[in-house]
């Protein structure tokens, strides 16, 4: 082949065994395309065009297969739009999922502290300061206990219930709650009596059998409750001061309690 290339002159240029694509293409074009058109065929086409135009065919609707405008750009635009909407949808679904988790978690906690918690909006943990304005009746925080927030007495009650349930098995209660309860009772020794009194008060109508059982576990229910009852003034004072403290503390400790 090398010889032929050097010897063959004009005809030897390029590889004969595997023609270049350009050569093949040129050959195909040469064999299939004839320049110039058949005038008769052209006239037939123009006649058909005239007939269609006069019949109003030029105002027909464009079908999808008739639209050959820059396709890549339209496709890109559509895919960009699709991508954005998918992204938005996933964000929305993710937000719903997070909100659902928050909503599922809050009632469990609400039963411990106060039944009113159940009605708290799921977004409450994010911004507690927003709560008072949500109920509409108490626009300024601090003017009174809002329905969303348990009163200090209920807080103490809840701590007492927790103490009843877990207190005998060690100091399993949260340290802050325990300290607060001790402070409210006026000393660690009086916690049982204080709690018996606290729990007895709201459930007086319903018999309070659960309180009796819980008090029995301590061994000396009568003596403690007796002292608690005897010093009514002292315990009231203690509960007041304790509730003041617990009110201020509960605000601070609320986020901690949520995460438990």
């Amino acid at each position: 082949m090398g010889e032929r290339q050097s010897d063959g002159g004009l005809s030897g240029r390029g590889s004969r065994h595997a023609l270049l694509d350009a050569d093949v293409e040129a050959l195909i074009v040469a064999s299939l395309i004839r320049d110039g058109v058949d005038a008769e065929a052209e006239q037939r086409a123009v006649t058909a065009f005239r007939a269609a135009r006069d019949a109003g065919a030029l105002r027909t609707r464009t079908r999808r297969r008739d639209d050959w405008r820059a396709r890549e750009r339209r496709h890109l635009g559509r895919s960009l739009k699709t991508t954005l909407s998918v992204l938005l949808a996933s964000l929305t679904l993710g937000g719903v999922a997070v909100a659902a988790i928050g909503a599922a978690g809050s009632p469990e906690e609400g039963t411990n502290n106060a039944p009113e918690r159940k009605s708290a909006p799921s977004s409450a943990p994010r911004d507690p300061s927003e709560q008072p304005s949500r109920d509409g009746h108490s626009p300024t925080p601090g003017t009174g206990p809002s329905p969303d927030r348990p009163s200090p007495a209920q807080d103490t009650e809840a701590h007492c219930r927790a103490y009843d349930q877990v207190g005998r098995r060690g100091k399993a209660m949260e340290a802050t709650s325990w300290q607060r309860l001790v402070a409210a009772a006026g000393g660690e020794r009086y916690v049982t009596a204080y709690c018996a009194e606290q729990l007895d008060e709201p459930e007086r109508g319903s018999g309070g059998s659960g309180n009796g059982g819980s008090a029995k576990g301590d061994g000396t229910p009568a003596a403690r409750s007796g002292t608690g009852n005897a010093s009514d003034n002292g315990s009231d004072k203690g509960s007041n001061s304790g509730s003041d403290k617990s009110r201020s503390e509960s605000k601070r400790s609320q986020p901690n309690g949520r995460h438990q």
């Binding site: 063959g8 005809s11 004969r16 040129a26 058109v37 065009f49 269609a52």
Partner: protein
């Protein structure tokens, strides 16, 4: 050098074609004739590769449809070539389907070979290969390869447009065109060597 003659059919005058189509869509009869003259050679070449000697008839059918639906078309010159190629292809496939029902005469193969010769030759190296034989080789390709080659080379469509005409993915059409060209190159190259070797050697001595 060989690629300088007719690189990609059609693409050079797409601007003029687009303008003519736009005017024709406004009802300009002469503009429609201009568009016809731009498009018809490539379209007819494509149809020759598909249906051989019946290409003229199929092209006439296609142009009736093109004239009727021109108002629906949206796009530029390149888009118009793709759109018309799609219409022509549908007409050609209808034609082939009818032929399959009623088998064509065996004389057709000879008719194809008797087509008039090319208007020009571009390279001394390719002169000896008869263009009729090249057409025969193109038609001997698998249909997908032949169509991909014809749409790319003869009609002058780009990859995505050819893929849209064929209703396939651009990658599949690119592969088919590549294989078809390689196959043709191998066949044409082998034959040109076999045919011309003695003459070339004779000339050189």
């Amino acid at each position: 050098m060989g690629q300088g003659t007719e690189p990609r059919r059609g693409q050079a005058y797409d601007g003029e074609l687009g303008a003519a189509v736009a005017r024709a869509q406004q009802g300009d009869e002469a503009a429609f004739a201009v568009a016809y003259r731009f498009v018809q050679p490539g379209l007819l070449g494509y149809l020759r590769g598909l249906v051989g000697d019946d290409a003229e008839d199929v092209a006439s059918d296609a142009w009736l449809e093109i004239a009727r639906d021109l108002g629906r078309f949206r796009g530029d010159g390149a888009g118009f070539r793709g759109w018309t190629a799609t219409i022509a292809r549908h007409r050609a496939l209808d034609h082939l389907r009818r032929q399959r029902v009623r088998p064509r005469s065996s004389a057709l193969e000879q008719d194809v070979l008797d087509l008039p010769g090319p208007q020009s030759t571009h390279d001394q190296a390719l002169e000896a290969i008869s263009t009729e034989h090249a057409l025969e080789l193109v038609r001997g390709l698998p249909r997908d390869q032949a169509e991909a080659v014809l749409l790319r080379v003869v009609v002058g469509l780009d990859g995505p447009a050819a893929a849209r005409v064929l209703g396939k993915r651009p990658g599949a059409v690119r592969t088919a065109a590549y294989r078809g060209l390689k196959r043709l190159a191998g066949q044409l190259g082998a034959e040109s060597v076999t045919d011309e070797a003695p003459r070339t050697l004779g000339e050189s001595t």
